[in-house]
Symmetry: C2
Subunit: 542 residues, 2 copies
């Protein structure tokens, strides 16, 4: 490339270039809105000045303990003020935050600590029993720090070398933090929930975290000073990057340790919550709560959901309850949400079923994601936009992960051909909106025909008695596989297996109708995703 006049004497300097990092969002909020409430946790209120100073203390204390660039700081924390502080303090020290899934067992936790080479581990005392076991199993010997939250439902004994507040006290609230030298530097490590085998470590960088945080504002059309309720676990894709998003707008975080209806309604009414996120199961919890657990509210509340398409009855229930619902989609590998069901004004004219059908589609790329498409993985060509042809959903752009930590082969495969391969199967509609049909490993192949487990679940969800449904393949001598449905009924509702099979016959092609319907509690991940691998085991054992 020949240099042009625009390439000469016009270089990057400290005056006109700085690596992107979401840390600046909190720095700015603390300067502009020092006295605004940043964090609410039970009776606790922290303003932006305090949130920022405590984060700096944490960053400073970590550096004084010898933690620096590329060191891993693992945390086993609920949605608490400390978890928010870690999202700023840890990267401020140059280190990488590894927020562990608090539902994991000791063996998997030990694997994460070892694989991530954790040098510090901050543990909420609710989780000290399992973490004590994990540490006994792990080769890693991190500095262990206890976090003692008065609102924890149970508090195990201290297992650390010091308490979180004592660690902070070692740090300087005037810490002269510096942005990373390179915006490609890692900011967090997130282990995939991993349905089989050991989880993979997804690495995020400062640039992607900055852009996703901004993308949330753009896609949610959030105004100034939102009040955000933490129904989504922050260990899940760093809470879809909302710990950083809220600072952009000088908003308020309302912490929540447990996703229960009374506490959610209480927070919504008391703090005028404007936004919250979660899987459809959280919406079901809200709308199916007994009347005495509900609290009235008359302001606009926006619920951003992902992990599964919101069923029509849930959307209708949410609308009646006063919530607006936005459907998002993404994976751990895409910083959480990277696709949004952009609502079209013309759809307002549709009936409830028509609107739900539109909203069930995953949609279009987030502003900071350059592209999402459905490709034939063999040819890497887009499938026709016919709403029928199945392909693999793939992502490309600045909010795709750096890769998997210490796993070059998995990284190479995941990012092959210039696209991130999601493993999700979907179609592209004529208007360009994508719609998931299934995980490639969840598809049911019956008599040579592909059956989308999601489609069968959708049919079941439409039955008035069904609260939750999960459909998996069951081996069959004649057909190869047939659909097997696991169902939870609503409290007080009743239905027989035959009734549900008849229902499906009226709503699905014959070959898609489940051969077996089992009433059972459906195993879910901490984020509300149905654990299909467990259902497959259950189906096998029938």
């Amino acid at each position: 490339m020949n240099p042009t006049p625009y390439d000469v004497d016009l270089d990057r300097t400290p005056a006109n270039h700085q690596p992107l990092t979401p840390i600046v969002f909190l720095e700015r909020a603390a300067r502009v809105f020092p006295e605004r409430t940043a964090v609410i946790h039970g009776a606790l209120r922290r303003d932006y000045r305090s949130f920022w100073e405590r984060s700096k203390q944490l960053g400073s204390a970590l550096q004084r303990r010898g933690i620096g660039r590329g060191d891993t700081v693992a945390v086993m924390l609920a949605n608490t003020p400390a978890m928010l502080e870690c999202h700023y303090g840890v990267p401020m020290a140059g280190a990488v935050l590894n927020a562990l899934n608090t539902r994991l067992d000791a063996a998997v936790l030990a694997h994460c600590l070892d694989h991530g080479e954790a040098r510090v581990l901050i543990v909420d005392r609710e989780f000290s029993p399992v973490m004590r076991q994990a540490l006994a199993l792990a080769a890693a010997k991190p500095l262990v720090v206890d976090y003692d939250d008065a609102l924890a439902p149970s508090r195990g004994e201290a297992i650390g070398a010091l308490d979180y507040e004592a660690l902070l006290a070692e740090g300087d609230e005037d810490f002269a933090w510096r942005p990373p030298a390179d915006e490609w530097d890692a900011i967090t490590l997130n282990y995939t929930s991993g349905t089989t085998g050991n989880p993979k470590g997804v690495v995020y960088h400062h640039r992607g975290a900055y852009l996703t945080a901004v993308g949330n504002v753009l896609s949610a059309a959030m105004g100034r000073h939102p009040v955000y309720l933490w129904t989504l676990p922050m260990f899940h894709c760093n809470g879809w990057c909302f710990p950083w998003t809220i600072s952009i707008l000088g908003g308020t975080h309302v912490c929540l340790r447990q996703v229960r209806a009374p506490a959610m309604y209480e927070a919504i009414a008391a703090h005028q919550v404007t936004h919250l996120c979660g899987a459809p199961i959280v919406m079901s919890t809200l709308i199916n709560a007994p009347a005495e657990d509900k609290r009235p509210f008359d302001h606009a509340v926006s619920f951003m959901t992902a992990a599964a398409p919101p069923p029509e009855v849930v959307l209708a229930g949410m609308k009646a309850a006063g919530f607006g619902v936005t459907h998002l989609y993404g994976l751990t590998e895409t910083y959480g949400p990277a696709v949004v069901n952009e609502w079209q004004g013309a759809w307002d004219a549709l009936d409830a079923a028509g609107q739900a059908a539109k909203k069930a589609r995953q949609g279009v790329n987030y502003v900071p994601l350059e592209a999402v498409d459905v490709l034939d993985p063999a040819t890497m060509r887009p499938v026709p936009a016919d709403g029928e042809t199945l392909g693999e959903v793939m992502f490309r752009g600045n909010i795709v992960m750096k890769g998997y930590l210490k796993n070059p082969e998995a990284t190479r495969q995941a990012l092959a051909g210039g696209w991130f391969h999601s493993g999700d199967l979907g179609v592209k509609h004529p208007d360009g909106y994508i719609q998931l049909k299934d995980r490639s490993k969840d598809i049911i192949i019956s008599g040579g025909e592909n059956i989308s487990s999601i489609e069968v679940e959708e049919a079941l969800y439409k039955h008035p008695a069904v609260q939750a449904a999960g459909v998996v393949a069951r081996a069959d001598e004649t057909w190869g596989e047939t659909p097997c449905a696991f169902v939870e009924l609503k409290p007080g509702a009743s239905a027989t297996a035959q009734e549900l099979i008849d229902w499906c016959r009226q709503n699905l092609a014959r070959y898609k109708v489940p051969r077996h319907v089992v009433f059972a509690e459906i195993p879910k991940t901490s984020t509300g995703k149905i654990q299909k691998f467990r259902l497959r085991d259950m189906a096998k054992a029938l």
Copy 2:
């Protein structure tokens, strides 16, 4: 720096890294909202599909004409659909858009064409007479393209090799454009309005344009589908990057060739305009319009103003007329707005004068600007945040220009010490908000005391008869300099020089009171800034 595990096998790939460019905003809007109205110009309506296809045709046609990376495409255009298309089509070809100030004279235009090495020049036929002269003076021999707009107030003869529509017809609406190889690549060239000597060529890059465009959304708290009225010239800092901002939200551009009250009110009422930008003079035009030029509207309209602090009476008038006003500040070197007067909820309780005093302050950094501060240029230390100590306003971050084209010495000086030196003098208040006091060259030094010309102008603006005021230094044998005021009165209002001097005595320290008050039309730039260098000439000639 020793590599850590996070630095190994986690490189940038086409799947997870793409240079930032604002072109993607239009690409996405055209895909997601193809049928939404993107552009209104008189009776013309263009949807996003058409806006995108025409932009691609332009990019393709330019490439077929041999225009590529680092080539300059100059345009002499009013706020028209073609001007919007150029903001996408030109960078799509890899080229650099140089939007010329349509008020410039032939000699300065010739300088810009030569200095910028324009290879293509697109000229609205309103401006063909002056451009014919400029081309006769210039050494550069660009391909000249005529743009023939039916709404132009006058149309000179064609001076080009072909018409704009003919150029587009040479291009491919399916043009396979590519983002720049490097987001640091130049996207536009903007000549400073230049009060003396030849203007400097400020170079913007794709990264900064992307981030400023996003910053506008964040600072204006713009919702989905805004309707944006083009009262700000697009040749001015690329219309503060709003040609790109509006695409992010799938909004509508309402073009406007001339900033006159009837057309503005007509557009606001007819198209439900939600946002517009301009200098305080545009606000004065709106509120001082005769009743027959006004049109009622009952929706929220947000006016973003910059270039001078909005006077209290103007703010009161805007509020009464139904406009919300946000005060922004920036320079050509900072992509236009880079500082925003973030409104604090507590200020709602102040009276009108108190609110105006708060709103007159320039404020705090835009989200994508990492810092703005007031420094002592000798020591490069921040001045005390006392609201009193004068220093130079300086900027640092990703929305500071690459530098001045072919002017390494000016670039080096402007970006010395890790900050962009604005040349504006200001103070920092205890709450961190900055406030301009003057351009360093506009300060009046009288008997050894510094007098801020802005402060004297503010006092004059408060007089009920004053429509506009400009204050400059006039040489004085005794005092060195004394303030000399030029004043325009409101239509129908009257006041004598002595009355205004007496008014100032009541509102200013004695030494700041103008010795001379002259009633005259005040020369302004095309963007409404008072041309102090001309006032100084007029003062000298008194």
